[in-house]
């Protein structure tokens, strides 16, 4: 279609869609008046039943934990997908070596030390956010992204991740797979030890303490590891194929 026809088709459709949305949204409870009993019930039962103060975390990891399992694997599939889509092709259409070898590091020493200086606190913050997921806002996902940032800063600072014999992308892949599979295994553990998939099988502990909420902190850790690994795989692949990818020889 020409740009003009496309514009007309879209314009007509968008007008219809706008009318439709306004008609539909008009039936929603007016802002601030929501009366959903489901959410209310969960908010009331979360603390007594799960000894965790973060209702959203309890919902995410327990009442609706099965959704989160799917969500973790969406992320996992995307990371594997990026790996597959950006895999090095046979043939000569690669970036000329010279352009490919240019590494996007921070060149000035000052920048480099800033990056290193931030990496430590980011690591601590990430671990903190993961560990407190059942108590305060945050959790595996948010903490995992912060952890990812810490590792990325180390990389940008120019530390030689490839030294030591382990290709970092492989390590990251192992991390994401372990995290995702760990979540599933905890679910199966619930099946074997408590009766239903993802049912809690760990002591609930005292409300408000770090080790409370049963399996929720554990699930948070698996999610944190998974998110960190998956995002590092994605960013690493986008960053530079040659530096980080499997089989750096090709």
């Amino acid at each position: 279609m020409s740009r003009r026809t496309r514009g007309i088709v879209f314009g007509a459709g968008a007008l219809g869609l706008a009318a439709l949305l306004l008609w539909g949204f008009g039936g929603l409870p007016s802002f601030g008046d929501f009366q959903g009993r489901y959410g209310e019930l969960l908010a009331k039962s979360a603390v007594p039943e799960r000894h965790a103060t973060e209702t959203v975390a309890v919902t995410t990891f327990d009442y609706r934990g099965f959704d989160t399992l799917g969500e973790e694997f969406i992320l996992f599939a995307a990371a594997v997908g990026v790996l597959v889509l950006l895999r090095i092709q046979r043939g000569a259409d690669e970036i000329p070596a010279e352009a490919g070898k240019r590494r996007p590091t921070a060149h000035s020493p000052a920048l480099r030390s800033v990056a290193i200086a931030f990496a430590g606190p980011a690591l601590v913050l990430g671990l903190y956010v993961v560990a407190h997921g059942h108590l305060t806002p945050g959790g595996g996902f948010q903490g995992g992204v912060i952890l990812m940032t810490a590792f990325l800063l180390v990389y940008l600072a120019g530390a030689h991740l490839r030294e030591g014999g382990i290709r970092p992308i492989v390590a990251m892949e192992v991390a994401e797979a372990t995290g995702a599979a760990g979540f599933t295994l905890i679910g199966v553990g619930g099946m074997l030890l408590a009766g239903a998939f993802l049912e809690n099988f760990i002591g609930l502990g005292t409300v408000g303490s770090l080790l409370s909420g049963g399996d929720i902190p554990l699930l948070n850790v698996t999610v944190g590891v998974e998110v960190m690994g998956a995002l590092l795989v994605v960013l690493g692949e986008l960053l530079d194929q040659r530096m980080l990818t499997r089989g750096g020889d090709s």
Partner: protein, 605 residues
């Protein structure tokens, strides 16, 4: 039902395990692990299917059973239709993995990992009893599907097809999610049964209609119903052929299933008064899709694109069956999905063999090149007969059930659509058999387009076909036949459809833990005589169309026929609309959502 969560956990654990060990896993290990996981999955699905024959069964994750009449957890609420689809999906996945065995270029284990995640997403979607959980599995299936469709990244077409697939389907997902948000805003529930109960207690207004329209639009994008269908041919034509087995055999059909699920369990209770007008909307949409898909299939030269458009055509027929909104219509559609899913998958598997031997899949260029491949030709022939829905193929009985119901509901004219769709798709396959395997028809007088020069999936052609490639192709082709032969199949599907369409019994089972309502055992089914007549007309038309395409030029000299010129012009403009431009596709998508919403607004308010 204690096994239900394993249907998702087993493939996902296998995927996680393979990835964790990816640097140490050989291709063979990856294949064995994946195949073992999917075999286990198929066994689980079959067990669940047997368990649910007598009605819906429920599994509450985390052990959170409903409390104070509120479903607080996520559930699998499985009936025989959902379990049957899950079994079909896992069966097709077994065939795909066996077919994969001979593909050298598959970056193990990542390909297997994506396949495992893909199948887990599809199975989870079939079994879920929670609207948001369905969305999650829908996304899981989509994300794995995007990566699989773009797998052959070294080809321009694969990259573009996958992009179009990903962008249009992602926008479809947002429509779905907006619909879910509306439903949640009204009912405060996500469990399908609870939503149904809550909606039925309330009033019908714009929100209910728009919510249903948006949910339907989201599912129809995946099902590739006109005008949401554009992405499908682009994506299916470029995906690795084993993946196409799953795409064409099951993924599109899941979109139609999704609409049925939310209609019967959530909306039928509150919108039941209007089902006459909704029926009209769905049948019109289905008919347009069927005719457009079949016409485009007939106009294709690229074998995989041909089958992709045939997929669209049959999705149209499934939508007609479901759109009848009766248990007989659902039964016909469900049986058709299984029979046609196997038949189409067999055809894709046969294309894989052609590709393996001849490296490309352009019908004109392959003229006569298939003379030494008689077994492959036989599989194509079986597929063509299944398309024509000749007795005793499963598709024959499915179609006759739908035909009876169409006549009963006063939509007799739609029979012509069914016949024409089957005839065009069967004719297209017959034509390719004639040209490729028998060398009939004129020698191509034009340069192959770039599209036909698609790079091979393998580097060198093989002198002989490995037997292992025949196994899935033959098994699938026979499956499409056997379904119609086993006594009691039609009746079992009819009983399953009675359970599927009984939303109130479903709600009692899920929310109150009641036993499913018993359904009357359907009487033994025998196809009426006119069904045989229609099948004969279909096949005759198909043979005529194929003959015309192969020998038409010899019968009537070029250009003498204004009808043919008109046909060329029409098909040319159809080709033009399928532009491959993602902006066009999204514009059509938006217009389609508006049109669908407008039609629902007129029909349901």
């Amino acid at each position: 039902m204690e096994l239900a969560p394993l249907t998702v956990a087993v493939p996902l654990l296998a995927a996680g395990g393979l990835t964790a060990a990816s640097s140490r896993v050989s291709r063979a290990t990856a294949e064995v692990v994946a195949l073992a996981a999917v075999l286990a999955l198929a066994a689980l699905c079959a067990i669940i299917l047997a368990r649910t024959a007598s009605g819906t069964e429920v599994y509450w994750f985390g052990g959170w059973e409903p409390r104070a009449d509120i479903a607080i957890g996520v559930s699998f609420a499985v009936d025989a239709i959902g379990a049957g689809l899950a079994t079909l999906v896992s069966g097709l996945m077994i065939a795909a993995l066996v077919l994969m065995w001979r593909y050298r270029d598959t970056d193990a284990p990542h390909f297997q990992v994506l396949m495992l995640i893909f199948v887990a997403g599809m199975v989870g979607f079939c079994l879920s009893g929670d609207l948001f959980n369905m969305f999650v599995f829908f996304e899981l299936m989509s994300v794995a599907g995007f990566a699989l469709a773009g797998y052959k990244v070294e080809e321009q077409e694969a990259v573009e097809g996958s992009l179009n697939f990903a962008i249009t389907n992602t926008i479809g997902s947002f429509m779905l999610l907006t619909g879910i948000a509306l439903v949640y805003g009204r009912t405060g529930a996500l469990n399908l049964a609870q939503i149904g109960e809550s909606l039925a207690a309330g009033h019908v207004d714009g929100l209910v209609i728009v919510a249903f329209a948006l949910l339907a639009a989201g599912f129809l994008v995946k099902a590739a119903v006109v005008p949401f269908h554009f992405w499908l041919a682009d994506a299916y034509a470029v995906a690795p052929t084993p993946v196409c087995l799953l795409f064409a055999g099951a993924m599109s059909e899941l979109g139609v299933y999704g609409i049925g699920r939310v209609w019967f369990d959530c909306f039928a209770g509150t919108l039941a008064l209007h089902d006459d007008s909704l029926r009209l909307v769905l049948i019109v949409a289905g008919s347009l899709t069927a005719l457009l898909g079949a016409t485009m299939a007939f106009a294709q030269d690229h074998l995989k694109r041909l089958l992709a458009f045939a997929t669209i055509a049959y999705v149209g027929i499934f939508l007609i069956g479901l759109g009848l909104l009766t248990s007989a219509g659902v039964a016909g559609a469900a049986l058709y999905v299984v029979a046609d899913g196997c038949g189409k998958a067999a055809l894709f598997a046969a294309v894989a063999i052609v590709q393996h031997r001849r490296l490309h899949v352009s019908e004109r260029r392959l003229r006569g090149e298939g003379r030494e491949l008689p077994y492959t030709a036989a599989i194509f022939a079986l597929g063509a007969l299944s398309f024509a829905s000749l007795p005793p193929f499963g598709s024959f009985f499915a179609k006759s059930v739908i035909e009876d119901e169409l006549i009963k509901q006063g939509y007799g004219a739609v029979l012509a659509v069914l016949i024409l769709t089957s005839a065009l798709t069967c004719g297209a396959v017959l034509r390719l058999i004639g040209r490729v395997f028998l060398g009939w028809g004129p020698v191509s007088d034009r340069e192959p387009s770039r599209d036909e020069e698609a790079a091979p999936e393998e580097e060198i052609s093989s002198a002989r076909t490995p037997a292992i490639m025949f196994v899935p192709a033959l098994a699938l082709a026979l499956a499409s036949l056997v379904i119609g032969v086993i006594p009691g199949t039609v009746e079992a599907v009819q009983a399953a459809a009675l359970h599927f369409t009984d939303g109130s019994s479903y709600a009692r089972v899920v929310l109150d833990g009641a036993a499913p309502a018993a359904v009357a055992t359907p009487p033994p089914y025998s196809a009426p005589p006119h069904a045989y007549l229609y099948a004969a007309i279909t096949f005759g038309t198909a043979v005529g169309l194929a003959g015309l395409a192969l020998f038409g030029r010899r019968l009537a000299p070029r250009g003498s026929d204004p009808l043919r010129r008109l046909g060329h012009a029409a098909i040319g403009s159809l080709h033009g609309v399928h532009s491959g431009h993602v902006g066009d596709y999204v514009a059509w998508l938006v217009a389609g959502v508006a049109a669908l919403g407008g039609a629902f607004a007129l029909a349901l308010s």
